[in-house]
């Protein structure tokens, strides 16, 4: 990806990123691989690369995360890490056979110039007994791109490696859904519900709703508990069409277009009345089926939620900082409700940036210190970012709506739905409730602050001082005596 895409000052000229918004590519790639069934992702790097990622994923999903490392050392970093890759795969196979092994590069191994593709080819040659084991590699240097890019790279590589090339007969009703990194477990369930209600059979890739959705498995295995299965992935070439949810996965959709002639539709927004209208219209046309009646009521409920919520949202100033696809979705959604996005901050460059201009004039590549600065400068009413925004929120005393990844200090975030009429409605309630939960701090100085301290000429009325007691029943006598 080109670093600057013709946008001036796309990257901050500050030497340090303060309170980073950005997360690394391998982390995003790992999340995508965790949405495939029986997968064991391996970071080709030092063991810290894995443990940080593992801990962060665990804190967000509250699940055990299968994630391994090639545990590069000083020596292997110098002499070459090919053997470490082989060793890692073999050690994993000793404990159990995953359905898919995924090897991601890191900053360390990319800097060294490790040839993972070559290493895997060598592994095949040396260990023909494992020829049937699918191994997918992804090049995800830490020093380039970010979370969303790594996620997309993983999806691209899965499709490139595992979907047989060539035009095959289409399976009626089979549709591919390439699910962007901004979607939650509940979002995937909702997308599946919508598509199946049209009589379609969706294959969702990656499918976190079947791996990191918090079910309790029968037995514990060190590999992803579920997700898109290998056979599902292999069938994706015979789908009628591909719905790409999120611009970042357009490249992945194009793999199926060029390799298997599956047409693709990129869905930029799935939140908000008009966005969902368009989506249903699209699916209705593609499936050649009418929109099911159940959506009539859901749409009406969303309309009502918009009416109820607009009192609390209209005119509110927001700063948004999140991964590009999510930022586009949020900025469009929030401004459609009459909120003003005073600044949007992206962690890394993205094509999405230019599409943000209808919703927000001030878009920058930056970090959470930018969020904090912009929020203070514009006197924002709400911060929207991941859980690391909490410090800025506390310092500025501006409420924080947690969104995206990671959210480690709130429970149930994977089960919050944001897409479809239902998700849009729930999103509205979540945002409006943030404002409703604020304490209304009205004081005698609220409207005329310069008049503060002018109470000294008033009766000394202190709630702590007990007034002299005149029992009520004596009142009549006193009046009589006056």
């Amino acid at each position: 990806m080109s670093q600057n895409e013709g946008v001036k000052s796309a990257v901050p000229d500050r030497p340090a990123s303060v309170n980073p918004l950005k997360m690394s590519q391998p982390l995003g790639a790992a999340l995508a691989f965790l949405g495939t069934a029986g997968c064991m992702p391996i970071f080709h790097g030092s063991q810290g690369c894995t443990s940080f990622g593992l801990v962060l994923l665990g804190r967000h999903f509250k699940e055990s995360i299968p994630l391994q490392t090639t545990a590069m050392t000083e020596v292997s970093s110098t002499l070459g890490g090919g053997d470490s890759v082989h060793e890692a795969i073999l050690n994993i196979l000793k404990k159990g056979v995953p359905e898919l092994v995924a090897v991601m590069s890191t900053g360390l191994t990319e800097t060294k110039g490790e040839d993972i593709v070559g290493d895997i080819a060598l592994f095949r040659k040396r260990h023909p007994e494992w020829n049937e084991l699918p191994v997918v590699s992804a090049s995800t240097p830490d020093f380039k791109g970010g979370f969303e890019d790594g996620y997309a790279e993983a999806v691209v590589r899965i499709l490139e490696e595992l979907v047989p090339k060539g035009t095959t007969p289409k399976v009626p009703g089979l549709v591919n859904v390439l699910a962007g990194s901004h979607l939650t477990v509940a979002d995937l369930d909702e997308i599946r519900r919508i598509l199946t209600s049209f009589g379609l059979t969706p294959v969702i890739l990656p499918d976190l709703s079947r791996s990191l959705d918090g079910t309790i498995p029968e037995k514990f295995e060190a590999k992803s508990m579920g997700g898109t299965t290998l056979s599902e992935i292999r069938s994706m070439g015979s789908a009628e069409f591909t719905l790409v949810i999120g611009e970042s996965l357009r490249r992945a959709g194009e793999v199926l277009l060029s390799g298997n002639d599956v047409p693709l539709y990129v869905v930029k927004h799935l939140r908000g009345l008009l966005a969902v209208d368009d989506f249903l219209f699209l699916v209705s046309n593609l499936s050649r089926r009418p929109i099911p009646a159940l959506f009539h009521r859901e749409r009406s409920r969303l309309e009502d939620a918009m009416l109820d919520c607009h009192f609390h949202l209209g005119g509110k100033k927001v700063v948004v900082a999140s991964e590009p696809d999510l930022t586009l979705d949020l900025c469009q959604f929030l401004s459609s409700m009459g909120m003003t996005v005073v600044a949007a901050i992206l962690p890394q460059v993205s094509k999405v940036r230019e599409w943000l201009s209808p919703f927000v004039s001030n878009v920058m590549i930056g970090d959470l210190s930018d969020l904090e600065e912009q929020a203070a400068r514009h006197n924002a009413d709400l911060l929207v970012t991941h859980a690391h925004g909490r410090q800025a929120s506390e310092r500025l005393e501006i409420p924080l709506l947690r969104t995206g990844f990671p959210i480690f200090d709130r429970l149930g975030v994977a089960h919050e739905v944001h897409v479809g009429y239902v998700g849009s409605m729930q999103s509205l309630f979540r945002i409006a409730n943030v404002f409703l939960s604020l304490k209304r701090d009205l004081t005698p100085q609220t409207w005329y602050p310069e008049e503060s301290g002018s109470t000294d000429d008033l009766t000394v009325v202190d709630d702590r001082i007990q007034p002299p007691i005149v029992p009520a029943f004596r009142v009549a006598e006193e009046r009589g005596s006056k």
């Binding site: 539709y265 368009d278 249903l280 219209f281 009502d304 209209g314 599409w355 000394v460």
Partner: protein, 472 residues
């Protein structure tokens, strides 16, 4: 006893509305009796509670079954600058056994509990229908408790079945007159002490006014009852003048204080810029006539001039986007014309306003301000309102909270201008806030969005909108 009290408050000699009635009509009372099946609005208990609860340092104890307090507590936005005790809900929550054996003992114990947990300066005890029906003598219990615990325990005898909210306001006023006002002496007095009667400090509205009085040099001796303190109200009989804010609600307090303590009063409103200015002028004039320094008038004019200029400037700023938009103003309040001039300054066209509670004089003024075309609405059913909005005869409905859903279901902007609202609309600042809120409501993009046809009503091919990307 009730009959006497109720008749007494109905026969209000200071009420112009009341005096214009025939003897027969007057006897029927000022609140129309609710008809079964077509009643709306609160009961007398509701009205009494509304009127007294803003006394923030007192305990408000409701003697009745859970419905009365349980279903209504903490539902108003009266603001406090000090104690939060008034928001703590106390009710005897009487049970079946209390209904059989009487609830007086439970009430006495409840008072005892409130005394020991908060040591409040006073406790207001609200009578409700059920204990009134079974004959609980709340007055006697309160008197006994007063003696026993050594603090004022004030019975508020306004059970729901005696009438509507307005009557309850007046009965609350009677409770203050009988048991509170004149029972204490102020620490000191000044020649500019005023009582503000019928102002509840909803959403802090008093504080949109009080700083101006401070600037002029007028001292608020007591407010009945917004951000009120028991001691202030108990010693309010030493004030030099009173302002009666919501004229129909607590007129009995103003009149009886004039009779008992020779405190003259005037009627005024803090809503609308000209009304606000007039109220400040009237207040200063009345105080000067009672011996306050004459330069009070000059100071008042200076503040009026400055604040009016600021307010008109603020309102004018919204004109660009509001010009020509049609507003329908349905308020329960008396003087809807008092905000009409502000609406007009912002470029809005008032297509209709309610005159249900307005006097003949009010109606003349409405005509004067908005002309003969103005639709004067005596009463309007929700169905009629919905129809009017649906037919786009108005771009915004300004009304009480009850009408909110009528407007919203017609997908028309709505602004709550009644007492349950969340924004403060009093004084000069409040009027700018009001216009700002109208602007905020009307410029929200959802009104355009909601007019869009559902996708199943769409004809044509695949969408060309931005939400779906390139078609391959």
């Amino acid at each position: 006893m009730h009959t006497n009290k109720v008749q007494e408050v109905f026969n209000e000699p200071s009420c112009g509305h009341n005096q214009s009635k025939s003897d027969h009509d007057r006897k029927k009372g000022c609140t129309k009796l609710s008809k079964p099946g077509q009643a709306a609005g609160g009961c007398a208990f509701d009205g009494a509670k509304i009127a007294l609860q803003p006394i923030v340092d007192a305990v408000h104890l409701v003697h009745g079954p859970i419905a009365c307090e349980g279903n209504s507590w903490d539902n108003r936005s009266a603001a406090s600058s000090g104690s939060d005790l008034y928001r703590t809900s106390y009710t005897t929550d009487i049970s079946e056994l209390d209904v059989i054996y009487g609830g007086e003992k439970r009430l006495f114990k409840a008072i005892s509990q409130a005394v020991s947990s908060h040591h409040p300066p006073a406790i207001f005890v609200y009578q409700t229908c059920v204990p009134a029906l079974i004959g609980d003598d709340v007055e006697a219990v309160c008197q006994l408790a007063s003696e026993k615990f050594g603090l004022p325990v004030i019975p508020v005898d306004a059970p729901g079945f005696v009438g509507g909210k307005n009557l309850g306001n007046k009965l609350a006023g009677e409770a203050l007159l009988d048991h509170v006002i004149g029972t204490m002496e102020p620490a000191y007095t000044t020649p500019t002490d005023v009582n503000i009667i019928g102002e509840y400090n909803l959403s802090g509205e008093l504080w949109q006014v009080k700083p101006l009085l401070d600037r002029i040099g007028i001292r608020i001796a007591s407010v009945m009852t917004g951000d009120g303190r028991y001691q202030e109200i108990a010693s309010s009989h030493r004030a030099r003048a009173s302002m009666l804010v919501c004229s129909k609600a607590m007129i009995n307090i103003a009149r009886k204080m004039e009779e008992r303590y020779q405190i003259p009063f005037f009627e005024g409103s803090f809503y609308g810029i000209s009304d606000m200015s007039q109220s400040l002028r009237d207040m200063a004039t009345l105080l000067v006539s009672r011996g306050a320094p004459a330069d009070l008038l000059d100071r008042t004019e200076a503040v009026i001039k400055e604040e009016e200029a600021l307010a008109w400037k603020g309102i004018y700023g919204f004109r660009k986007e509001l010009e020509g938009k049609k507003a329908l103003l349905i308020t329960g309040g008396v003087k809807s014309w008092s905000v009409v001039s502000a609406l007009q300054e912002a470029g809005l066209v008032v297509v209709g306003t309610s005159v249900k509670k307005s006097t003949g004089e009010d109606k003349e003024r409405i005509k004067e301000i908005i002309g003969d075309d103005a639709h004067m609405i005596d009463s309007m059913t929700p169905g009629e309102m919905y129809q009017m909005l649906k037919e786009a005869k108005a771009d915004i409905l300004m009304a009480g909270g009850r009408s909110q859903f009528v407007a919203l279901k017609a997908k028309v902007p709505f602004l709550d201008v009644n007492q349950e609202r969340n924004y403060a609309f009093a004084g000069y600042k409040g009027m700018v806030t009001l216009i700002g809120e109208i602007h905020r409501a009307m410029t929200n993009p959802i009104w355009q969005t909601l007019k869009k046809a559902a996708p199943w009503e769409r004809i044509g091919d695949l969408p060309k909108t931005s939400s779906v990307g390139s078609l391959r």
